[in-house]
């Protein structure tokens, strides 16, 4: 148990111990950094490859078909075949495109998606960097991918691309605020911004999702995260049926694959962070810690794919109304509920906070009723 728990950490230590024999101290530090970077740089793309497989398989089952099943058993080699196809495709750059911006956008979009993995605690002692502002680092870096998306959409010189880019920026600005507000209760209760100490505060099954405030904060955070990575039902920036493919209309081959990769890696990172903040991260009985983390993260990913197979795309006004009129006031009031929960003694706080949460829910739903989407009335079609 203990051995399997720390297998990766022990492996890294063994390499470093071996190198310490004949290399100067400072190179060992650099090698230690490089090992962490390499682990993330391999983990990210491999996760992305098999997420595409998982998504096609699960959506296929939801739609009553098999999904990929030709290359390898269960289509397991399909992502590799796709990768080879992407690499050998012709790279098309539109004649009127802004060449530099068009080229840089897919390169830059991957950087934040990989960087955020550095603060995720994959297991006991398995965070690449234990930053004391890890949570804020994650939120700050993940906003940067929007700039890359906008660069791509602007550099393409295509009306549909530009529309998609504008939608992405507007969506990010709206959903960023409830997202940050929904993690404030976690910071308030743990008193730390480090992802590692947030997990440590939940050890032994005291997951935040089991508290009244944590349950709703987890929902708000996860929905905002789904919106942040532009997945259905919040995929307006890509909206195939409305604006072709939005910001990546003019990209082909590996450049398109990089956009795709960034999207899937961000989706996994958001799932991992939801698991870290509200579902106890790597905490769990019997199995090694990193297995628990992956189980929780993949459960979140499964919910995202489930969304995709089930929900239709939102309209722009519904998208904005949902963020500003429902999620934002709810996330704000949730902070006060969490403060109540923290202030009162143990058995009483559950009842008081739960009651407060219920009142908040009712008040917000009644207040937002006026603006909630009405049943559509057809004037001409009868």
């Amino acid at each position: 148990m203990e051995a399997s728990d720390t297998i990766f950490v022990a492996f890294k230590k063994a390499i470093l111990g071996f190198l310490q024999g004949f290399l100067p101290d400072w190179t060992v530090v650099i090698v230690s950094i490089l090992i962490s970077i390499t682990a993330i740089a391999i983990f990210g793309p491999v996760t992305m490859m098999y997420l595409t497989w998982l998504e096609r398989k699960v959506v296929g089952r939801i739609q009553n078909r098999y999904g990929p099943n030709r290359v390898g058993i269960f289509g397991l080699l399909q992502p590799i075949a796709d990768g080879v196809k992407m690499l050998t495709k012709e790279d098309i750059v539109p004649q009127a495109a802004d060449k530099v911006t068009h080229f840089l956008a897919p390169v830059i979009v991957v950087i934040p998606a990989l960087l955020v993995f550095s603060v995720l605690p994959f297991g006991k002692g398995m965070a690449a960097v234990n930053l004391n502002v890890g949570l804020l680092f994650f939120l700050a870096i993940s906003t940067m991918s929007t700039i890359a998306i906008f660069m791509g959409s602007w550099g393409s010189r295509n009306k549909f691309s530009l529309l998609g880019g504008m939608r992405a920026v507007a969506q990010m600005v709206s959903y960023e605020i409830p997202m940050v507000m929904s993690v404030v209760p976690v910071i308030l209760v743990t008193g730390s911004l480090s992802t590692v100490s947030i997990v440590e505060a939940q050890l032994g099954g005291k997951w935040f999702v089991f508290t009244p405030w944590g349950f709703f904060a987890a929902i708000v955070f996860f929905l905002c995260g789904v919106a942040e990575v532009n997945r259905t039902p919040f995929d307006l920036p890509e909206g195939e049926s409305e604006i072709i493919a939005g910001f990546h209309t003019e990209y082909s081959g590996m450049k398109f694959a990089l956009f795709y990769m960034a999207e899937f890696m961000s989706a996994f990172a958001i799932s991992g962070l939801t698991a870290t903040l509200f579902f106890g991260g790597w905490d769990g009985p019997f199995l090694p810690s990193w297995v628990w983390f992956l189980i929780k993260a993949y459960a979140m990913i499964f919910i995202m794919i489930w969304f995709r197979g089930t929900l239709p795309r939102l309209r722009v006004d519904q998208l904005m109304g949902f963020a500003w009129k429902l999620l934002l006031p709810f996330a704000l009031l949730n902070i006060f509920v969490a403060a109540l929960w923290q202030l009162l003694p143990a058995p009483k706080n559950l009842i008081v906070a739960g009651a407060a949460e219920a009142v908040v829910l009712v008040v917000i739903f009644v207040a937002a009723r006026k603006d909630s989407p009405q049943k559509r009335t057809y004037i001409f079609a009868d």
């Binding site: 100067p24 101290d25 400072w26 530090v29 650099i30 802004d98 530099v100 911006t101 930053l131 004391n132 502002v133 804020l136 680092f137 939120l139 700050a140 870096i141 906003t143 940067m144 929007t146 700039i147 906008f150 660069m151 602007w154 504008m166 920026v169 990010m172 600005v173 960023e176 008193g191 911004l193």
Partner: protein, 169 residues
């Protein structure tokens, strides 16, 4: 550990060089969207400077607010300008030479002032580890009055912006 320090120094100098180059690009590039992208690079460089001064909290807030929020607004503003397609928007005019001369004069005094000041470093302040918790406690205790005043100013600005932006009824 000496080699590591040299490497870190080199990294900091490289980051500063990139920041300064990008700052020059902001005021010389002819395409206004490229200027905005260069400004993002400058802001990231400033965040790197904060990290090198061990102020991670400020670095992250810098990225979150300036790159994440304010630059998004700048991009929106650029999208609303009409002549975005024009490739040549001159950023300078004929008064460049005079302003350069005046700036040089100012810099002479400025350099003199920098050299004359004896930079007293307070060892207690240097050693203090100012993290987000300490900052928050200071805002709520010692500096609660300025903090509240800033909050009121921001609220007034917010309400004013909503009233100005509201659709006419």
């Amino acid at each position: 550990m000496d080699a590591l320090h040299i490497l870190a120094k080199l990294g900091i100098f490289a980051a500063m060089l990139v920041t300064l180059t990008a700052a020059v690009m902001v005021v010389t590039l002819r395409n206004i969207f490229h200027c905005a992208l260069a400004l993002i690079l400058v802001l990231l460089g400033v965040a790197a400077a904060y990290i090198s001064l061990k102020a991670e909290f400020f670095a992250v807030i810098q990225i979150l607010l300036y790159v994440g929020a304010i630059m998004t607004l700048v991009i929106f503003a650029i999208m609303l300008t009409s002549r975005i397609g024009d490739k040549t928007i001159l950023q300078n005019n004929r008064q460049g030479l005079i302003s350069f001369a005046l700036l040089g004069l100012f810099n002479v005094f400025f350099t003199g002032a920098v050299l004359k000041t004896s930079w007293n470093l307070n060892p207690a302040a240097m050693a203090a580890n100012v993290d987000a918790g300490v900052l928050g406690a200071a805002f709520m205790n010692e500096y609660v009055f300025p903090f509240e005043i800033i909050s009121v100013v921001l609220i007034v600005a917010l309400v004013g912006a909503i009233i100005l932006g509201r659709a006419d009824q």
